[in-house]
């Protein structure tokens, strides 16, 4: 779905960080969504580092990223769901507006694969559809613990009515009921598959699910790795009285 971006009233004239070689918003751009995997050491990159890395990889591949409107235009690129540092992923969703009337999507994946650093693997690309909301994600958490300990932990977790895990940050101190967002972890060999929902009032982090499981385990539970298997989305509800714009 090619989307034409409206011409701005006047040229943006920002200061500070902005990147002038991304194209002016007056140009035509195509909104593209591509999926990628983040493996090996690349999982230690932060969300912002990943966005910056993808922008540079797109530029090396010869694409120009469109800029947003406003006084401080930014490249139009987003990752559907922020990923915790250290969490690998097999299903990252990146939406980006690329300058041009059309792009060969298979070619984009090939070219991007050649310019991404190791551990960042583009999988497929498609034209972005209507905007969606992220409703949750599924994770595979591998433990370095005896199978019996893990099984007991999962059983106790599922039997609990609530599992409060404290969340401490400079801005907030509160207890999160992890079980509310991730009610049914499934045992899968030495791992646990867990779907974590995102509600209007928030969500739980995979690391908090790990802490909740550990609190249910009879012995120590050590984590060997966390991988995001899927990001779940649903159509974004259209608010009455407003108009969707692209």
């Amino acid at each position: 779905m090619a989307a034409a971006i409206a011409a701005p009233v006047s040229a943006p004239f920002g200061t500070g960080w902005w990147r002038p070689n991304a194209i002016h918003p007056a140009a035509h751009a195509v909104r593209i969504e591509f999926r990628l995997a983040i493996r090996d050491r690349a999982r230690y990159l932060s969300h912002l580092e990943m966005v910056d890395l993808l922008l540079a990889a797109l530029r090396r591949a010869g694409y120009q990223v469109a800029l947003s409107h406003g006084m401080r235009p930014r490249p139009v690129i987003s990752l559907a769901l922020a990923r915790g540092v250290g969490v690998a992923s097999e299903d990252e969703h990146c939406t980006v507006e690329l300058v041009g009337d059309s792009h060969d999507l298979d070619d984009l994946v090939v070219r991007l694969a050649a310019t991404c650093p190791r551990g960042v693997v583009p999988l497929e690309a498609c034209l972005a559809g209507p905007k969606t909301a992220v409703t949750g994600a599924t994770y595979r958490i591998v433990f370095d613990a005896p199978g019996e300990t893990l099984a007991q932990a999962v059983a106790a977790y599922r039997a609990a009515s609530e599992l409060l895990i404290p969340r401490r940050s400079p801005k907030q101190h509160r207890d999160v009921d992890v079980r509310r967002y991730a009610p049914e972890p499934q045992l899968d060999g030495d791992a646990v598959i867990v779907q974590i929902a995102i509600y209007d009032d928030g969500s739980a982090k995979p690391s908090e699910v790990v802490r909740a499981l550990a609190s249910c385990a009879p012995d120590e539970l050590a984590v060997a790795g966390i991988t995001r298997l899927a990001v779940h989305t649903a159509p974004k509800p259209v608010r009455v009285g407003t108009t969707e714009t692209t």
């Binding site: 200061t15 990147r19 070689n21 050491r41 990159l45 530029r59 090396r60 551990g119």
Partner: protein, 595 residues
């Protein structure tokens, strides 16, 4: 045996992965950036290190040049290592994880050559931190065949004595040509002592264990005809500089008497415009950067700058092209506008605010030139003007400090005439503390006393304030430390070791600077930090770095020192005739390109 090594490597990698889950910014340690090189079968392995955090070290152009040079032009493999942040260093010690290279996560101790660049004295405690984390004995004399040769280079190596206990070999000068000789020796000679014996034959290497013989600074005479690097490693987002950069010129002969680089990198060698444009555009394609910087000690002095700006902007009109290190003049302001019409900030460095002091330091600009440059900067639409000065210079009186205040207000007045009384613009005055450097005409001068510097800083704080004005000052404590180490001797090395053992590291970072550790270390060595920093040296006395021949003669430096006392500037040899500094020998001489 191979199986055992493989097993050890896997175990080390697992240990590192465990640490990465608990430390701040793990991306500092993962490597894997675009344009990194891995050569698993190389016979000679080199670890190149910058003794500071990843985001500082990865932005260093010199290390990027050497990394590309070793990997692309020799059979050796160069890998990178930066100083682990204290949280990581503590965790590594606790878990007994040795310092590792980013590319292969293999122990630094296993390489043949551990190269450390010395860009600033305040990183010296991190040099010891790196060596210790690698599991290498701190002192050279305690090392065995099991340890790599620890080599240091970079501008601060010009006084090697404070680090002479800890470094096996110092590279004096520019490493582009001499590095291959070192790698060849490492490839063909085995055994630590044998290697050091052979390395001692190279004229540009100072090997402390082989005595204080004269060492000649290496000059890369072919800089002008050598191709500029085009594939630098692209850092992750946290780096302080995230842009392509081409070195357009090496050396500067303006002769500012406080400037170490102005002596150490003589003579001037310029790169042809065609090569710069080609390398710049190639680098943009290879890196994905959207900004290109044309770097040198004074880019606006490069003969090809106007043509290069025109050609690069013609090829990439939207590119953010930056020209750092401009002289104070209207020409460079116009150039900066042409290079990047959207940038709103410009930096001018008068260094001193009065004509008298500019004559003393040999900064050959006038009040009229500065005023014109400020006017043209505001007229061109710049809304943030940065003015750099130094305080504590030799022969400074309070009139010089008042001059900084006056010039700050004058700049604001010019800005107000341009943008209106309440206009949105800023005059940012930065005043750093003068620190005398070896191999400069001011090497015999002492720093101003700390209380003097604080009084001057307080005066600036009290007077230079108001709307549209900003002031930034440097920490006096760290400046004094820089001064005390920079002109230090072998005993300073003992002080350094004691301070590091007491917890000093990351001294350039105020949150980590340990004044108590340094004061105690100086006292234990029977010295006083402030006395060492402020002490004047007698021109007749030998200096700790006298055996290092920079090319510029001591007679010339002394003559320049006398000229400064007479408040007389010296002309630039590019335009005003040879000043007989001694830097031009044989094929090594100024090489300018046609504009």
């Amino acid at each position: 045996m191979t199986q055992l090594i493989l097993q050890q490597q896997i175990e080390l990698q697992q240990q590192i992965e465990r640490l990465l889950t608990v430390v701040e910014k793990p991306s500092r340690y993962i490597g894997g950036e675009t344009n990194e090189t891995v050569k698993p079968d190389a016979t000679v392995r080199v670890a190149l290190s910058y003794p500071d955090a990843y985001e500082i070290g990865i932005s260093n152009q010199a290390l990027q040049i050497l990394y590309g040079l070793i990997n692309d032009r020799t059979e050796a493999a160069a890998e990178r290592v930066y100083c682990p942040w204290p949280d990581m260093a503590d965790a590594m010690r606790l878990q007994q994880v040795p310092l590792f290279t980013l590319e292969t996560w293999r122990p630094v101790r296993d390489v043949d050559l551990f190269g450390i660049t010395l860009q600033a004295e305040l990183t010296y405690s991190n040099v010891l931190e790196l060596i210790d984390l690698a599991g290498i004995p701190i002192r050279s004399e305690d090392r065995t065949d099991r340890d790599p040769i620890v080599l240091a280079g970079g501008p601060s190596a010009s006084n090697p004595m404070p680090l002479a206990h800890f470094i096996d070999a110092f590279f004096m000068g520019e490493a582009e040509e001499g590095l291959s000789s070192i790698i060849e020796i490492l490839d063909t000679v085995k055994g630590r002592e044998e290697r050091l014996d052979r390395l001692a034959e190279l004229p540009f290497l100072y090997i402390p264990a082989r005595g204080e013989r004269p060492v000649e600074r290496a000059v890369f005479a072919n800089f002008s005809i050598d191709t500029a690097p085009t594939k630098p490693v692209v850092p992750y987002a946290s780096a302080i500089f995230s842009r392509a950069s081409v070195e357009v010129m090496r050396g500067c002969t303006r002769g500012c008497r406080f400037c170490h680089a102005g002596t150490w990198y003589r003579p001037v060698r310029e790169r042809p415009v065609e090569d710069v444009v080609k390398a710049g555009l190639e680098q943009l394609n290879c890196t994905g950067y959207d900004e290109l910087s044309l770097t040198s000690l004074a880019t606006s002095d490069w003969s090809g700058v106007a043509r290069a700006v025109t050609e690069i902007k013609a090829a990439k009109p939207e590119l953010h092209l930056s020209l750092p290190s401009n002289r104070v003049d209207t020409g460079p302001v116009a150039l900066a506008v042409a290079a990047n019409s959207r940038q709103r900030s410009i930096t001018l460095a008068p260094e001193a605010a009065t004509q008298r002091m500019r004559d003393i330091i040999c900064k050959t600009i006038t009040d009229e030139m500065i005023e014109k440059a400020i006017k043209s900067a505001f007229a061109a639409g710049y809304t943030s003007l940065k003015l750099y000065f130094m305080i504590g210079l030799p022969m400074e009186t309070f009139a010089e400090v008042q001059g900084i205040v006056d010039l700050g207000f004058k700049a604001r007045e010019i800005g107000r005439r341009q943008f209106g009384e309440g206009g949105k613009f800023t005059v940012h005055v930065s005043a750093s503390n003068f620190v005398p450097k070896p191999h400069t005409p001011f090497q015999w001068d002492g720093m101003a006393a700390p209380e003097q510097l604080r009084v001057k800083q307080e005066y600036l704080r009290r007077t230079l304030k108001g709307r549209q004005l900003k002031l930034s000052l440097h920490d006096v404590r760290t400046s004094m430390l820089e001064g005390a180490i920079g002109r230090g001797d072998a005993i300073t090395g003992d002080v350094l070791e004691a301070a590091w053992r007491a917890g000093a590291r990351f001294d350039a970072w105020t949150e980590h600077h340990r004044e108590d550790a340094w004061q105690a270390a100086f006292t234990a060595a029977g010295r006083d930090l402030e006395v060492e920093a402020t002490r004047e040296r007698d021109p007749l006395d030998p200096l700790p770095w006298d055996h290092v021949r920079s090319g510029v003669t001591k007679e010339f430096l002394l003559d320049e020192w006398w000229q400064s006392r007479a408040e007389r500037p010296t002309g630039d040899c590019r335009w005003d005739g040879c000043s007989d500094c001694g830097a031009c020998v044989g094929p090594v001489r100024n090489r300018l390109v046609e504009a």
